[in-house]
């Protein structure tokens, strides 16, 4: 299908919006009516046609606006993109992975023409047509990591693998859920996960690291993660907390359906061939509560998940102060009917909302 790109903002007037198509394919992260951490990994080898899992790197209606927002963040704060000196080869690996994947998966939007080390890259939506020499940084306007990720939605952490650990040694992070590349750069897997509650006690990180160290070329993996964001902000960084943190206090029972967004990250993991590094793309999808409620199954389930979530997690995910207001809103979309297994909305088969007279 041809994608109609939105002209929208993730700041100031927040004109971000999801089309009916985007709502239907939103990666609702709860496969049952409750949530707890787990090593919820699966192979990243396609998915249902049109779903966000189908392509290696999903491109959707927000592409151009997200890239514009990224450029603004980088202009304000160049440290959002960093690469330690030994990670340049991994940057070329990532450039190659994205260019090959996008040109194969979206041939109407992207083209890659390779003649030895002379490569021509055409990005039609962004109006880019560049010829450069592969592995020669001098032939690109930015380093290979920054060049390609200014043209790819989502954050990218490039992890060096050594000493049976992973090290946050390069990345571009402008659409993050309150963590900082500049703070975490050079840390290992356990160091950068230190602030996460409950998961350490459950041994989640030891098992997750073991899984990640063994991700092999040709066998990428994926999982979903989630949090809550007030207003459709991509850049919820610690660096800018003074700008967005205060917005959490602007929720009212009247505006919560429109302002409160469920933020879901599609996290994927690819072994990079030339450097043996691991790339960890984190693609954020936002959907307002009122748009989510158009799917009866999601309405019922979101209410139950948020209601029963352990307090530590609601605190860590930053919405403990607004949980009561969220539940007041969400409860109106939960009539107590059972929900079907799995994350898909089942909008054709799920019963519509059946509110009793006392609600």
């Amino acid at each position: 299908m041809t994608i109609q790109f939105n002209d929208e903002t993730f700041r100031d007037d927040y004109s971000f919006h999801n089309s009916a198509w985007a709502i239907r394919r939103f990666p609702f992260p709860f496969h049952e009516d409750s949530y707890m951490y787990s090593v919820n990994m699966e192979q990243h080898r396609g998915g249902p046609a049109g779903s966000i899992f189908e392509k290696r790197f999903d491109v959707d209606e927000h592409y151009l606006s997200e890239m514009r927002d990224r450029a603004m963040v980088l202009a304000d704060d160049p440290l959002r993109c960093q690469s330690l000196p030994h990670m340049t080869l991994a940057g070329w690996d990532l450039l190659e992975l994205i260019m090959v994947s996008k040109s194969e998966d979206y041939p109407e939007l992207f083209e890659l023409h390779r003649n030895g080390n002379t490569w021509r890259w055409v990005n039609k939506p962004m109006g880019i047509d560049d010829t450069f020499t592969f592995l020669d940084e001098a032939t690109l306007p930015y380093g290979p990591l920054e060049y390609i990720t200014r043209q790819a939605q989502g954050d990218f952490c490039v992890l060096d693998q050594r000493d049976d650990n992973l090290w946050m040694d390069a990345g571009i992070v402008t659409t993050q859920a309150d963590w900082s590349l500049d703070f975490d750069i050079g840390m290992n897997f356990f160091e950068w996960h230190a602030p996460v509650p409950l998961a350490h006690e459950k041994g989640v990180f030891v098992r997750a690291l073991k899984f990640l160290l063994n991700i092999q070329q040709g066998s990428p993996a994926r999982r979903l993660n989630w949090t809550m964001t007030v207003n459709p902000l991509l850049d919820t960084s610690p660096e800018n907390y003074h700008k967005w943190g205060i917005q959490k206090t602007t929720l009212t029972p009247e505006n919560i359906g429109q302002k409160q967004h469920l933020r879901v990250e599609l996290q994927t993991f690819f072994r990079l061939p030339r450097s043996n590094a691991l790339v960890f793309p984190i693609r954020a999808y936002l959907c307002s509560f009122q748009d989510l409620m158009t799917m009866p199954k999601w309405g019922r389930r979101l209410h139950r998940v948020i209601r029963d979530l352990p307090e530590e997690l609601a605190t860590y995910k930053g919405f403990i102060d607004n949980r009561t207001m969220m539940l007041d809103y969400l409860s109106k979309f939960d009539d107590g009917l059972p929900t079907s297994d799995g994350i898909w909305p089942e909008f054709e088969t799920e019963p519509s909302l059946n509110l009793s007279e006392d609600s």
Binding site: H86, L89, R162, Q216, Q217, S219, R274, N276
Partner: protein, 320 residues
């Protein structure tokens, strides 16, 4: 499914290098391009040897940037269980085979200011790919390669011709030895050491470096073990609810696979840790041969690596 992704290839060239070592070249059967890889990576080669399917890891030694073909060099092991003998005797140019995607358990530390390679015998192969990778990026390296004799010195001529200043050769039969202590002493700060060869050589390098005060993280090593033959034994698999027999010439992992049990694996040489299995009960002795488990794990009787380790005794019950 266990193991890495598979690639269907055709054998396009077989070159005997000397009395013991033969080089094999593989190209994709469908004419597509192979994945690039990083120096130090291996591929697992599948061999249909009669009723037995053997899966042996071999280091890739071609240029990591060359996507048209992979090459491996195989040393014939006359007393082994037959994987290398099968390749030497039964595989012909034009044969179709299955190999795995590259897997790297012996990666370069790209932070290194200098890479010091120590090779023993057929352990030269991963370094050949790493040298090609470093030459392309102007990396600084030095090789010290011990081999039995001039006649058995695989790739010595190629290395010393192309890299006269970096490649240093030592012949055992001429009583030449790597002067390791002095060699380590003369290295610039930020050097990483890589050793690939027989177990004795790896142990010697690790111990000498530790004694000289080198950080553990700066010493990298790889030794693939071929599973060894041994006495047959019986195993009960608790999850699969099966009692299986492990034959003299097969590994515990291979016996599980023969019985249709999907056991995880990657390197099949005791190095990667993927096949680590919990022991539920045993009466007898383990013959641990892996590099993965710690000594305490070996002594605990609670874990076994079925790719290379065996068991002698009455009862063995595994959590698989």
């Amino acid at each position: 499914m266990s193991g890495a992704q598979k690639i269907a290839v055709t054998v396009t060239e077989i070159v005997p290098l000397n009395e013991l070592v033969t080089r094999f070249k593989f190209k994709p059967t469908d004419g597509s391009l192979l994945p690039t890889f990083s120096g130090g990576a291996h591929t697992v080669v599948e061999m249909k040897d009669g009723a037995i399917t053997r899966l042996n890891p071999y280091s890739l030694m071609s240029d990591p940037m060359d996507q048209t073909a992979y090459t491996i060099s195989v040393r014939r092991d006359d007393v082994g269980r037959g994987g290398s003998l099968f390749l030497h005797r039964n595989v012909k140019v034009g044969d179709q085979m299955t190999i795995s995607y590259p897997v790297n358990l012996f990666s370069l530390d790209l932070r290194a200011k200098k890479h010091l390679f120590l090779a023993g015998g057929i352990g030269i192969t991963p370094f050949i790919a790493q040298i090609k990778q470093l030459e392309r990026t102007n990396g600084r390296w030095e090789l010290h390669y011990a081999t039995r004799s001039v006649a058995l010195g695989s790739y010595v001529d190629e290395l010393t011709t192309k890299h006269p200043n970096e490649a240093h050769i030592y012949y055992d039969d001429q009583e030449q030895r790597i002067d390791l202590k002095n060699l380590l002493d003369g290295q610039p700060l930020g050097t990483h050491v890589y050793v690939c060869g027989p177990k004795g050589m790896i142990d010697w390098v690790r111990k000498t470096a530790a004694d000289e005060g080198w950080p553990r993280e700066s010493i990298h090593y790889e030794e693939f073990l071929a599973p060894k033959s041994g006495k047959p034994f019986e195993v009960k698999l608790a999850i699969s609810n099966k009692v299986i027999q492990v034959g003299e010439d097969e590994s515990l992992l291979e016996a599980m696979e023969r019985e249709g049990v999907d056991a995880p694996y990657l390197c099949r040489g005791g190095a990667c840790g993927q096949c680590e299995t919990d022991v539920i009960d045993y009466r007898g002795n383990f013959i641990h041969r892996d590099h993965w488990l710690e000594d305490a794990d070996h002594k605990s009787g609670k874990k076994i690596m079925p790719c290379v380790s065996r068991f002698e005794g009455k009862t063995l019950v595994l959590d698989r």
